[in-house]
């Protein structure tokens, strides 16, 4: 491939668009991690084979794409240009899919079925889950082959880079500032302001700054960044290039979790294709601007997502945070000014340059025309997971309510259960109860309610979730992940864990709640980095909104949700038909009973493994 100039982008786009137009339709097979685990690679190969055998491979093309954000129903296949959406596609469905396609019809059994009406909905855009979204960061998901740079260019990739190369540095920074965009990685710091600090500092000190993309995505229960990198790696590269041009950097790094091998592979392919085309390396698009990107794999430490720890890890050291200030924008990698932004932040940058700061600022909530701090502009990607009908990735304009996300897009709580809480903000976020469902989803409203925007994990919990157990879960997570450098964080988490552990075992005492509140306060005041400073949020928010549940554990020695092992027992109710499946599956033979007669569980033997509950088809197992 030849190194290209700015003017060539248009030719490549037109050529590719023309090539695609020659086909009657494109069968887009989702090849994100979720669908791959459900067999989508095999599906793609078989599709190609079938089309070839039937001499149809000149009429229909098969395109592997990134995650469509609907992974629970994988493998997903979308037929373009009509946007026909198939789910749970199996190899044996292939001949029929092709037959119907030729006839201009659909395979009904593979279509999405509306949960309210029971009607089949053929087109993706008419499915509520997708229809209500507004795609900026995810604009290319499911539409391009992430391993083909020409597909990305056909969708406009690198146009904004070409634009940036013609702009003066301060003008790029001003554009980003005026868009009001705030960091998508958790902190919500205005991106343009960060860039300006790095730009000014490197000019004053006459040094070359660095660019980093944070793809560590440590927030458990979140996979926005994974999906963006898997579906559209070029938007991240382009964002970084624009940032580099703006502040005058010539080297950039992507720090990516090793748990994301597919994302890393796609990113590396994208980097090398961009290098070959002269979109990375020396004299980019024929200009005098040089920029290189290297990747680093994280080695499994949550705290490495914190920017100063990440920088230390990139330099081949243990990822321990350091005191701030100075912020990395002033002194970061190798002591040089460094801008570090989250994957999703980078993915938004090309669109801001393309459509203009004003366009972006108009999306979202608040008025950011004077200062980015006055609102939350743009969209945010959330990973909507847990006890919800439609789990998946959603990109929504900031400012819509939790209720809209959970019910209108997510389809509510499945299995006839009740909504109990929604957790946002990652391990140091908070749990919000039903009374807060009308809350607007933006940086400031969530913080005010005792949670956080965080990076976009949104875990929905039904009434079978124990909030004390959830608090214990987060504290245990953070206790393991605290780097241990400072005492309040290290010791505070151990102390909180011990108290919560006692409470969940029925050994809670009066005064435990107050003691936890006191420890939390010390931690938030005296810890070095944000991990310790915010670590108590899950405890404080659950105490605030679910105090009665704590009291039930402490005073009545009961776990109302039926989760805490020491406080519950399993029994069989009158629904039992004597089908004997539970007694066969019980690993410790604690269940006895004759065929067609009600069974009983021996509480002495029961290890509360939950197998009986899982396998019973008659709702006959009670957990209390």
């Amino acid at each position: 491939m030849n190194r290209i100039q700015s003017g060539d982008l248009n030719n490549i786009r037109e050529k590719r668009v023309h090539e695609i137009k020659k086909f009657k339709a494109a069968l887009m097979v989702c090849a994100g991690t979720g669908c791959v685990s459900a067999g989508s690679f095999k599906l793609k190969d078989l599709l190609e084979k079938e089309l070839k055998e039937r001499n149809l491979d000149n009429e229909y093309m098969v395109v592997p794409t990134g995650c469509n954000g609907f992974c629970a129903q994988g493998p997903i296949m979308v037929i373009q240009p009509d946007g026909i959406f198939y789910q749970k596609v199996k190899p044996e469905d292939i001949p029929e899919i092709i037959n119907k396609l030729i006839e201009g019809k659909y395979v009904d059994k593979l279509l999405y079925k509306d949960i309210e009406t029971g009607n089949y909905i053929p087109k993706m855009e008419n499915i509520k889950f997708f229809g209500k979204q507004q795609l900026i960061a995810l604009r290319n998901k499911g539409i391009i082959n992430p391993e083909n740079i020409e597909d990305a260019i056909a969708r406009g990739a690198y146009n904004s880079l070409a634009k940036a190369l013609e702009m003066n540095q301060q003008d790029i920074i001003d554009e980003v500032k005026r868009s009001g965009i705030r960091g998508r990685g958790g902190g919500g710091f205005p991106t343009g302001v960060k860039w300006e600090i790095a730009f000014k500092t490197s000019q004053e000190k006459d040094v070359i700054p660095y660019i980093i993309c944070n793809a560590d995505e440590g927030d458990p229960g979140a996979f926005m960044d994974r999906s963006i990198v898997e579906a559209d790696p070029h938007t991240v590269i382009e964002g970084m290039l624009i940032g580099a041009k703006a502040i005058g950097a010539s080297e950039g790094f992507v720090y990516i979790r090793k748990e994301y091998p597919l994302a890393l592979e796609r990113l590396e392919i994208a980097i090398s294709q961009a290098e070959e085309m002269g979109l990375l390396g020396k004299n980019i698009l024929g200009s005098d601007f040089d920029f290189d990107i290297k990747t680093h794999r994280g080695a499994g430490a949550f705290v490495c997502g914190e920017e100063t720890a990440l920088i230390s890890s990139i330099q081949g050291k243990a990822g321990e945070p350091r005191q701030k200030p100075p912020v990395p924008a002033i002194s970061g990698l190798r002591g040089k000014p460094t801008i570090i932004n989250n994957v999703e932040t980078w993915a938004n940058i090309p669109v801001i340059l393309d459509k203009g700061a004003g366009w972006f600022a108009d999306i979202g909530s608040g008025d950011v025309s004077d200062s980015p701090w006055n609102g939350s502009s743009g969209t945010k990607v959330f990973s909507l997971v847990g006890n919800i009908e439609h789990t998946g990735l959603v990109e929504i304009p900031m400012g819509i309510t939790l209720h809209e996300i959970i019910y209108d897009i997510g389809g509510g709580i499945p299995n006839g259960r009740k909504f109990k809480a929604v957790q946002t903000g990652g391990p140091s976020g908070g749990c919000l109860p039903a009374s807060h469902l009308d809350l607007s989803v933006d940086f400031d409203s969530l913080t005010k309610a005792g949670s956080m925007m965080g990076s976009g994990g949104m875990i929905v919990m039904d009434d079978k979730t124990c909030m004390v157990d959830v608090a214990k879960y987060f504290i245990s997570f953070l206790k393991d992940e605290s780097c241990g450098k400072c005492t309040p964080c290290r010791e505070g988490l151990i102390a909180l864990y011990q108290i919560l552990d006692r409470i969940t075992k029925g050994e809670g005492k009066n005064g435990d709640i107050e003691l936890m509140e006191e420890i939390s306060q010390t931690m938030s005041l005296a810890s070095l980095c944000a991990l310790g400073q915010t670590a108590a949020n899950p405890v404080l928010s659950t105490i605030k909104y679910f105090r009665d549940e704590y009291e039930a554990h402490i005073k009545d020695k009961k776990c109302p949700a039926g989760v805490c092992k020491e406080l519950i027992s399993y029994s069989v109710n009158d629904n039992c038909t004597g089908c004997t499946i539970c007694s066969k599956k019980c690993p410790v033979n604690a269940i006895s009973g004759k065929v067609k007669e009600k069974h009983i569980i021996d509480p002495e033997l029961c290890i509360k493994c939950n197998v009986c509950y899982e396998v019973c088809k008659f709702d006959a197992i009670e957990v209390r």
Binding site: F70, P220, A222, R297
Partner: protein, 153 residues
């Protein structure tokens, strides 16, 4: 040792990339052998004490060999809410090992990971390179049996 040297060369003996080198070493040997660390020190001039600090700091590394099949049970939030603790319990019960341990036949080792990024499929586990979603307690014995028979497709 030749393998170790190849790995060090792959990263241009660059001290900034010692963590990458050690990840490759871990993948190759299923642990970080002391001799490998000494070789890395020799070539990159990064002090041995710092390498040990790294090995103990990051969860990816282990000083004792991990099993032929590494089992990772996701204990991220989405999986927790969907019953991951029960899945983890059933692995520790079936394999009679705790998190961080390897079975005596060297076949399986067990780890808890903080999120595999497939939260829609919760609860999620991986065995070797294969990912399984929507896992039930009742599936665990079947899955293990499959791998014991050497049939890991």
């Amino acid at each position: 040792m030749e393998k170790v040297n190849q790995i060090i060369q792959k990263w241009n003996t660059d001290p900034d990339f010692v963590i990458e080198m050690m990840q490759d070493i871990q993948d190759e040997f299923r642990c970080i052998p002391r001799e490998a660390l000494e070789e890395v020190t020799l070539k990159t001039k990064v002090p041995l004490a710092r390498l040990y600090h790294i090995v103990t700091f990051y969860k990816s590394f282990s000083l004792t060999p991990r099993g032929k099949y590494e089992i990772q049970v996701c204990i991220g939030t989405a999986c927790h809410v969907k019953g991951a603790p029960l899945i983890l319990d059933s692995f520790t019960r079936e394999l009679a090992i705790q998190i961080g341990e390897t079975t005596s036949d060297g076949l399986f080792s067990l780890e808890g990971v903080r999120c595999l990024g497939c939260c829609s499929l919760a609860p999620v586990i991986t065995i070797g390179d294969n990912l399984y979603g929507d896992v039930k307690v009742a599936d665990v014995p079947k899955l293990l049996a499959k791998y014991k028979e050497g049939n890991n497709e």
